[in-house]
Subunit: 258 residues, 2 copies
């Protein structure tokens, strides 16, 4: 008997009409049956938000030839939850999210809707990966990111990885001849130094735009930021047990009198 | 010279008018100068969302006697960013978030706006804690959670804790005579089993409400869920380096051919 065809859930946070998700679909469609469930509008910066206060809409759309696709009014995490409960019928073999227009390395994993969608699937025990391309441009050339996404997805499907496996993959802006390949990394200790741009509306009232500068305070050569600066694509295995075991141990000593 | 007065940033995700934040302000005001920056409307389930696509509003309000307070149109994370950049003038000595109406133990740390606000401050190097009370009722009696919040905040201010210290504190529904105290825990391996409630609007179109059942698959007696079930308040030290170092090491062996 032939092996069962792999079921691949594709989602993102830039919205179902973004070029990045189209590139990802094309990259992984040779590997199994692809089903797309993605937001109907851009959801960047949504983190692990879920929709509680308003009901969700879900509509089938025909925008990818030969591919079952649904758009959802909610967040990337909502998309994964709805896909699992209302669309797929069985647990998918993998969930891939992206390809995001813009970086999600280092601390950005926490703000990223792309990664939150993948994390939601991983919590469900589905091996998952988020892919992000450092190029923000809508018209970016996705051929290198697509190759990387294809290779990672194929490896994930072939390997027997632990339940809850979750990868954060970022792809640099680099010509293919200079690309050095994929590097397994840790999350760089970096952060955003925020400045809000203060303006006044036509009625004289203040409002603020979030803006900021990215600061890498990590000099390690095993980080995702280092890899990307050196023409590698970075792959960080991500966990969702957020317990700080080191500090836990320290406190158990220090706060014995609790 | 007298020691500088401690500067305490208070925020939450239920909104500035919720009883929980009022209880937290009262609990910590004897410990220093309190400044409140909180969302102007409920933001539950917002995870680590930030506001990118629309500008933010920030208005000073007088609803807590003798306390400087600001309401913000954004998410809990936006509140912390704005507080730091536009209001406080200096890095606060601590950030406390809550007291949330409802649990944020185990995997809920990932979906929680309460915890995301605290995490944002911790990324900035500010020792931070989120407090959540298992009672959802708007009219809940916050006296026990307030006592716990006061004790934890006081300990955090007195102890020289590492930069980036972040605590997830949950308080059970229990009579004070049966309360067993605070217990340092790890995050339980639990998840939500989602079911969407499918309905039809007056025009016959489907819509969905998120609903779900909480499943704890962790039998350990060192978890937050166990502590809460046994009349302890739980304190989980939380990290924001999400690298899965164990899997990273495995992959470095397994995927040598990269």
């Amino acid at each position: 008997m032939a092996e069962q065809e792999k079921l691949i859930l594709v989602t993102n946070d830039d919205g179902i009409t973004s070029p990045g998700i189209r590139a990802l679909i094309e990259a992984v469609r040779p590997l199994g049956r692809v089903v797309v469930v993605a937001p109907d509008s851009p959801q960047s910066g949504m983190g692990h938000a879920i929709t509680i206060g308003v009901p969700l809409r879900l509509n089938q759309v025909e925008i990818f030839e030969g591919i079952e696709a649904w758009q959802c009014s909610g967040t990337p995490v909502d998309c994964v939850k709805l896909a699992r409960d209302k669309i797929l019928g069985r647990k998918p073999d993998i969930c891939v999210s992206g390809i995001n227009h813009g970086a999600n390395h280092s601390i950005n994993v926490i703000y990223s809707g792309t990664m939150s969608a993948a994390m939601e699937a991983a919590i469900e025990g589905i091996p998952s990966a988020g892919f992000s391309f450092l190029e923000y441009d809508y018209k970016a050339d996705f051929s290198l990111p697509a190759k990387v996404a294809r290779e990672v997805t194929e490896r994930m499907l072939q390997n027997n990885l632990p339940a809850g496996t979750l990868f954060n993959v970022n792809i640099p802006i680099v010509e293919e001849k200079d690309f050095k390949g994929l590097k397994i990394c840790r999350q760089a200790d970096a952060k955003w130094v925020e400045e809000f741009d203060e303006r006044r509306d036509p009625h004289g009232k203040k409002y603020y735009w979030l803006t900021g500068e990215f600061k890498n305070r990590d000099v390690g050569e095993d980080t995702d930021v280092w890899a990307l600066e050196n023409n590698y694509a970075s792959l960080v295995p991500v966990q969702f047990d957020l317990t700080n075991y080191k500090l836990k141990k320290e406190l158990e000593e220090k706060w014995k009198d609790l």
